[in-house]
């Protein structure tokens, strides 16, 4: 058994079901791997951990990866895509009357000071011909976004759509409905979280990476098919995870990853034109110093030979 340390992007949640079920069902063991999963402290931190090889494999946002390659040349490469589309976007209440991006003008929105969703917001505005000066922004801590929206202080918040479940339930308590709007649906079609590896590791242990990716994708597909079992696997080692919230997150991820494209190419695949597009959007939004080339961020050839299809059903 080869020991592998794997760093998540953030605290354990429903989107991580695939790794836990892969470990629980023995997919990793079958691949000869002994995987230690540790929580993340934000994509930026995970990237640095992988770069400094204190973790061998990591899960991080593609935008953050591109930025860190461009700004500081941090040595990491994408080997597989987990979120086929970035979940960046807005969450708002149906009762607010917002229907299209334009409706946000003239209203107050809540956002945190930084993060991918915030970084991409200008791009979203530009793509939809909106004027930022017409929007009043309230900057708060990420944890406060939901209460802020529910209390009616703002009409929308910049928040990943993966978290819609929690908002939905909080809104329901007040007899309201929470909805999500993705940047990806309005001109900013970018990739989301990806698996990353240090190029040195790639050179030393390509086999191990391949086996890890294959087992991970297998676990992800299994989790899509058996969500209850997958959530239970998470809660076995992380009892603090809330089952209902985790289920929402897993379901959202599944919806995202079971599109036509992945159904034909298999989980984890990366389309070069889409990656380039993502790079262009990010480079402009973050006014990065340089345009990273594809081979500078993506190491092809680590996906399984036989594609793993998202969901048998």
């Amino acid at each position: 058994q080869e020991a592998v340390s794997f760093a998540l992007d953030w605290v354990v949640n429903g989107t991580h079901a695939g790794y836990y079920i892969a470990r629980d069902k023995g997919f990793y063991r079958e691949a000869g791997l002994d995987v230690t999963i540790s929580r993340g402290f934000g994509s930026g931190d995970t990237i640095k951990r992988v770069a400094s090889r204190s973790a061998q494999i990591g899960l991080a946002d593609t935008g953050a990866i591109i930025a860190s390659r461009a700004n500081d040349d941090i040595p990491v490469r994408i080997v597989a895509m987990i979120y086929d589309r970035a979940t960046l976007g807005l969450i708002y209440l149906a009762e607010s009357g917002i229907k299209a991006p334009k409706d946000i003008e003239g209203r107050a929105i809540g956002r945190s000071a930084s993060g991918a969703t915030v970084n991409m917001f200008p791009g979203f505005l530009k793509a939809n011909g909106m004027d930022r000066s017409k929007i009043r922004e309230v900057v708060v801590d990420g944890a406060t976004l939901a209460p802020l929206l529910m209390s009616g202080n703002v009409d929308a918040v910049l928040e990943q759509s993966i978290n819609i479940g929690k908002f939905r339930r909080a809104a329901a308590q007040q007899g309201k409905t929470a909805l999500a709007m993705s940047y990806a649906d309005f001109g900013l079609e970018t990739y989301g979280n990806a698996l990353i590896v240090n190029p040195v590791t790639l050179g030393e242990k390509p086999e191990m990476v391949q086996r890890f990716v294959a087992a991970t994708l297998k676990g992800t597909a299994y989790a899509f098919d058996h969500p209850d079992e997958a959530i239970a696997a998470i809660r076995k080692s992380n009892p603090e995870v809330d089952a209902a919230a985790a289920m929402d997150e897993l379901v959202t991820l599944k919806e995202m990853d079971t599109n036509a494209e992945l159904r034909s190419n298999g989980l984890g695949t990366i389309a070069i034109p889409r990656l380039e597009k993502t790079r262009d959007i990010v480079t402009e939004a973050l006014s990065l110093k340089r345009k990273v080339s594809v081979e500078d961020m993506y190491a092809p050839g680590f996906l399984p030979k036989t594609p793993v299809m998202p969901g048998a059903k």
Partner: protein, 265 residues
């Protein structure tokens, strides 16, 4: 006998008052939440908090223990670094001038911003949580100890000088005991800061502890559990503060007021 009775009665009254105050607050909070029907995610009622927190009772002891260990370890670390630094600063004007800017830098940089970097350098785990807790807690100890060491009665120092006593002896037998009211005053502050420091470390780099629980429960929008954990945390803070106050009472009764209330600050 009568004296014992009075003491007992007084103690009961004292703790009774404290308990009463807490109970009144909790009841008021509960009533307010119900009357105004404050939404649960804004400010959950105590009953709600208790019920929801009770559900995770199985994992609580483990998380509580992790935080407690980081607090105690960080506090001890803060003492064993803070007091020697204060000593250096008091005895050597040169070191004072050289060390102080760095101490102040370390102190004014928010640990929340520094902790991720620190953890990247020293790794994750209990030891790093302790170190973060210590960095948060040690500054008041340095300042108060230094002030205390410098406040020694001038003629007492002259007495030791007339005996041509070594610096070490004067330190241990005169300066340090003299500074104890200052030191304990700072330890009471430091212990609460150690609690904060441990939790901050758990926010940014841990997968257990009360700080981690706060993070996960707030992430899952379980406001009531978050409040429950915050209350547990404040219990930890209160208990450790009174433990320090108790130690002070045991170790240096001479400067504490006698006839006033026992559980003084």
């Amino acid at each position: 006998m009568a004296a014992v009775d009075t003491t007992l009665r007084r103690t009961l009254i004292e703790y009774g008052q404290t308990t009463l105050a807490v109970v009144v607050l909790l009841v008021g909070w509960e009533v307010l939440c119900n009357v105004l029907s404050v939404p649960k995610w804004l400010l959950p009622a105590p009953s709600q908090i208790a019920a929801d927190t009770w559900e995770i009772r199985a994992v609580l002891p483990m998380h509580f223990g992790a935080t407690l260990a980081a607090v105690v370890g960080g506090f001890v670390l803060a003492i064993v670094t803070g007091i020697p630094i204060a000593v250096l600063v008091v005895y050597s004007p040169f070191l004072r001038r050289v060390i102080f800017p760095f101490l102040l830098t370390l102190q004014s940089v928010p640990k929340v911003a520094l902790a991720p970097l620190l953890l990247l350098w020293i790794g994750y785990g209990l030891h790093s949580n302790m170190i973060v807790a210590a960095t948060v807690a040690f500054f008041p100890i340095v300042i108060n100890t230094a002030t205390g060491l410098e406040s020694v009665d001038k003629e007492l120092l002259e007495l030791t000088r007339s005996l041509d006593a070594s610096t070490a002896r004067v330190f241990w037998c005169v300066r340090l005991p003299w500074a104890l009211p200052y030191i304990f005053s700072s330890l009471k502050v430091a212990i609460t800061l150690a609690v904060i420091g441990a939790v901050v470390a758990e926010f940014v780099g841990s997968d257990k502890g009360l700080g981690y629980l706060i993070l996960t429960s707030s992430g899952a929008m379980k406001t009531s559990v978050m409040f429950g954990v915050l209350l547990l945390l404040s219990l930890l803070g209160i208990a450790s503060f009174y433990a320090v106050a108790w130690a002070e009472r045991r170790l240096c009764p001479w400067y504490l007021p006698t006839n006033t209330d026992p559980p003084a600050i």
